[in-house]
């Protein structure tokens, strides 16, 4: 797990939480949002694959929507990019 995955997992568990940590080490997690409950290391680790799966699903859904739109317009992705350039 890397810093971005950890950050996304924490924000998934506690939106808008304020925190910091060092070297991807969850034991160094410093919790600044004292009004919010700090998640446990186990909860954060468990949330990482859930967030990843959600992000991948979102990317796949976007791709499918994009493909459907291109098909409806009858143009390729390159032609669409040309129109936007």
């Amino acid at each position: 797990m890397n810093s971005i995955e950890i950050t996304a997992a924490i924000r998934h568990l506690v939106p808008n939480a304020e925190f910091s940590f060092t070297d991807n080490d969850l034991s160094t997690l410093k919790w600044d949002s004292t009004e919010l409950t700090k998640p446990t290391i186990t909860q954060i680790k468990a949330a990482i694959p859930i967030v990843k799966a959600a992000q991948e699903a979102e990317i796949a859904a976007k791709a499918a929507t994009k493909a459907a739109l291109l098909e409806r317009l009858g143009i390729t992705a390159d032609e669409a990019a040309l129109l936007l350039s």
Binding site: S3, I4, T7, I10, E18, F19, S20, F21, T22, D23
Partner: protein
């Protein structure tokens, strides 16, 4: 031989005196020599004044001398009217020169996803040799930012021990580091250069703290991401 003698004017018995008045003339001669030797001795500087290699003999007043003990290695003789001899051994003045340099490269990744100023791991200590010295702080900070919406900003500040000496506020879109386009990742090397006057000879620690302006939309900053180094260099400049 000249009579009286050339240097001290001793009156020597003449050949006639040697016959007619030898004891009295030798008495006069002997007293003259005795008096002159005392005068010479009083005017001389005794070598017993000095005690060690490098000791100097210096005046403490008119016609008065004293020992000035040798100074420590690499010190220079400096006029000082408050010292007994009017001189002292002292460290040479820096005169705007670089007296010492310390530097460090930091690769500890630090994720900051908070609006609270937080240590970035960029830190280094220096012990100035003089309270009049200045410290030139040169920092090259590797900062990464991401946010799923437009406008992402990081604030930062440089601290001398617990005192903030430079602050890059993250308010009003004037931050230390800024990105602009939604969902884009930005990684740059940003710098802080500051000439500080700590006025101390105690160990002094400089460090960088960072913050983000928005916590929503997955905003975060990572200092030294993937071990990309930040560097900090502290130079002591003589006054």
């Amino acid at each position: 031989m000249a009579n009286p003698t050339t240097n001290y004017g001793f009156v020597m018995p003449t050949p006639t005196d040697l016959v007619t008045d030898l004891p009295a003339d030798f008495g006069v001669f002997g007293q003259a020599v005795d008096t002159q030797m005392l005068t010479n001795a009083n005017a001389a500087i005794a070598k017993t004044i000095v005690d060690a290699k490098g000791d100097l003999i210096a005046a403490t007043a008119a016609d008065t001398v004293s020992r000035l003990a040798v100074g420590a290695n690499n010190t220079v003789l400096t006029a000082d009217s408050t010292a007994a001899t009017g001189m002292k051994w002292a460290a040479p003045a820096g005169g705007g020169k670089v007296l010492q340099v310390v530097s460090a490269a930091i690769t500890t990744a630090t994720t900051i996803a908070t609006t609270t100023m937080t240590d970035t791991a960029i830190t280094l200590a220096i012990t100035p040799t003089s309270a009049t010295s200045k410290i030139l702080v040169i920092i090259s900070a590797n900062v990464y930012m991401t946010r799923s919406e437009n406008n992402e900003f990081a604030g930062a500040r440089l601290l001398r021990d617990a005192t903030a000496v430079v602050t890059y506020s993250n308010s009003g879109f004037v931050g230390f580091f800024a990105g602009g386009i939604s969902s884009q990742e930005n990684q740059h090397t940003a710098s802080i250069v500051y000439l500080d006057s700590p006025a101390t000879t105690s160990a002094t620690t400089y460090k960088v703290q960072g913050q983000i302006i928005y916590t929503a939309d997955s905003a975060s900053s990572i200092w030294q991401r993937n071990s990309n180094p930040s560097t900090i260099t502290l130079m002591e400049i003589g006054a």
